[in-house]
Amino acid sequence: MHAKHGVEAVRAVAAAAQARRRPRAGVRSVLAAVPSASPIVRWTGIGFLVVAALFPLFGSGFYTRLAIEAMLFGSIALSVDILLGYAGMLSLGQAAYFGFAAYLTAVLYTHVTSSFWLVALIVAASVGLLAFLLGAVAIRASGVYFALITFGVAEILLKIAHNTRALGGSDGIIGIPVPSVGVFGLFSIPLKHNLVFYYFVLAGIVLVYLGVRRILNTPFGRVLHAVRDNADRVPYLGYNPFWYKVCAYVLAAEVAAFGGLIYPLLRGFVSPELFGFEVSTKAVVMSLVGGIGTLVGPLIGGVIITFLEIVLGGITEHHLIVLGVIFVVFVMFLPDGFMGLARRLVAQRRGERS
């Protein structure tokens, strides 16, 4: 099941990337304008933010926690989008950084400190270093081989977590205390409360998104576009693609680590499955369903898939098959995902009006 799922995913994603790269003649390319800066993206993003801000006021505690989970998995999807949507690199192992950050967070809270900011700092620094070292190796391969290396790295980390007794082996680490987050020593945010926790994570993910957008809305981000479009041509303009890819890879790892930094506080435990292939591929699916290259789309995709999973899980135990079908339908008919759909609907409306 796993292996098959994986091969299909690689093929489907390759097909989708192909569809984006070779626009039909006459159609002005989706990529000609920077998609993450288009008004559709902005308004869809703002619309979703409003819904997200009001959501816990109406839903039950269960759905509030589910929404938090959606945002955390959404961060892995965003991380996939940085690589796939900007630099054209398909990673099947972004769970490596999610899991690594989650385990490190768990260990630090249980043994070292209860300061959220200190933990965040250590996690960010460690993930940055790990991603730099692994990235510098993985990036020397390209295409499918890059995907396979990232997959392999995540599997190795999973096995290490699984086989290390100090990390709880297959049980993982349980009983992680939920900290309060001090703000300049003035007051502290008690994450124990569901609503507080929710808005804290929402604010966090919005800041991460804005930060990523800012970093990519630069000459640096445009070079990544060039790498995605035609990596072989990039050196002849005087850019060394290697460093641009490494930077994108480290940035993506940090974004996935944001999810990993929060996840243990939501669940109170971590386990080896956090490194798993299912987490990595789900992030790719979220990214595609939301719309790659849009940054906001993958976050929306994260919400769609997480909630769909729960709804479908209540109806049938074969919900993964249904999700697979949805994925295939998106790749075949909506390769630019939810955001592409929104864009077309708006364009149609405008056409009717004029």
């Binding site: 002005r28 000609a32 630069t218 041509r233 303009l237 005087g238 850019y239």
Partner: protein
């Protein structure tokens, strides 16, 4: 400007380039011609940094540049075009050129917001205009006609403000009228930049070159002025073939 000494490259048992030496003078158009398999493409790729030579030396303005990677050569002022059109096909024409212009900015500017870094965009607009692509500026490069793509290819190189322009069969796959346009374009660039080109189209080469190098089976067969090449029996025999020999 560019001096090549004893350049060699083999692929297995095939000696693609053997002991090639020549010089491309500053501000002039130097052409390498030769029949298929003569090794001119390999020689070109060695100079452009696409391939690493097995032996020999390449000098640019007196400095050794042998075996340097393409992105270093580009920053030193050596730009190359491609025989098979090689652009950012999914990006707009303007963005293609802007990316090249942006490459000249210092890297510490690369974290600035795009709209706060205006010079590359302004320069790109001027270059797009200069190369007659203004009307297609917002068009996706992949949607351009072949002739326009060939021009964009050269525009991308010139946006790098190179001192040497390496052109790989610039008129490849073009109709006669378009070839004449490219011909004129290359000549108009001649004063601004040193040009080294390899070409299949002999007429183009003869019309615009200051200096011609003829390659045959990996080696330099002949070099001289276009009319000398035309007059050479040796060249005729090796390259121009029977029909020219009898004509």
């Amino acid at each position: 400007m560019i001096r090549v000494t004893g350049l060699s490259k083999s692929f297995g048992a095939l000696h693609a380039v053997r002991n090639l030496s020549f010089e491309a003078g500053a501000g002039r158009i130097t052409s390498i011609i030769g029949p298929n398999g003569a090794g001119k493409s390999t020689a070109f790729n060695l100079i452009a940094g696409t391939l690493r030579p097995d032996g020999g030396r390449i000098e640019f303005e007196g400095e050794d540049i042998t075996g340097l990677p393409p992105h270093v050569l580009a920053r030193r002022g050596i730009a190359r075009s491609f025989q098979i059109t090689n652009l950012f096909f999914g990006l707009s024409v303007l963005e293609n050129v802007r990316l090249a212009c942006q490459a000249l900015e210092p890297r510490r500017q690369f974290g600035r917001r795009l709209d706060r870094l205006a010079p590359p965009l302004e320069r790109a607009r001027r270059i797009v205009e200069e190369f007659g692509l203004a009307e297609a500026a917002d068009e996706t490069a992949g949607n351009l006609s072949h002739g326009d793509q060939r021009r964009l290819e050269i525009a991308l190189c010139m946006a790098l403000e190179p001192r040497v322009l390496l052109l790989d069969e610039p008129s490849q796959g073009m109709a006669a009228a378009e070839t004449a346009q490219i011909d004129a374009l290359i000549q108009s660039l001649a004063g601004r930049v040193t040009i080294l080109l390899i070409e299949h189209d002999i007429d183009l080469v003869m019309n615009i070159s200051d200096h011609v190098i003829v390659m045959h089976q990996g080696e330099k067969l002949f070099e001289g002025l276009p009319q000398e090449v035309r007059a050479s029996a040796l060249v005729r025999e090796a390259y121009l073939g029977e029909e020219h020999a009898t004509a």
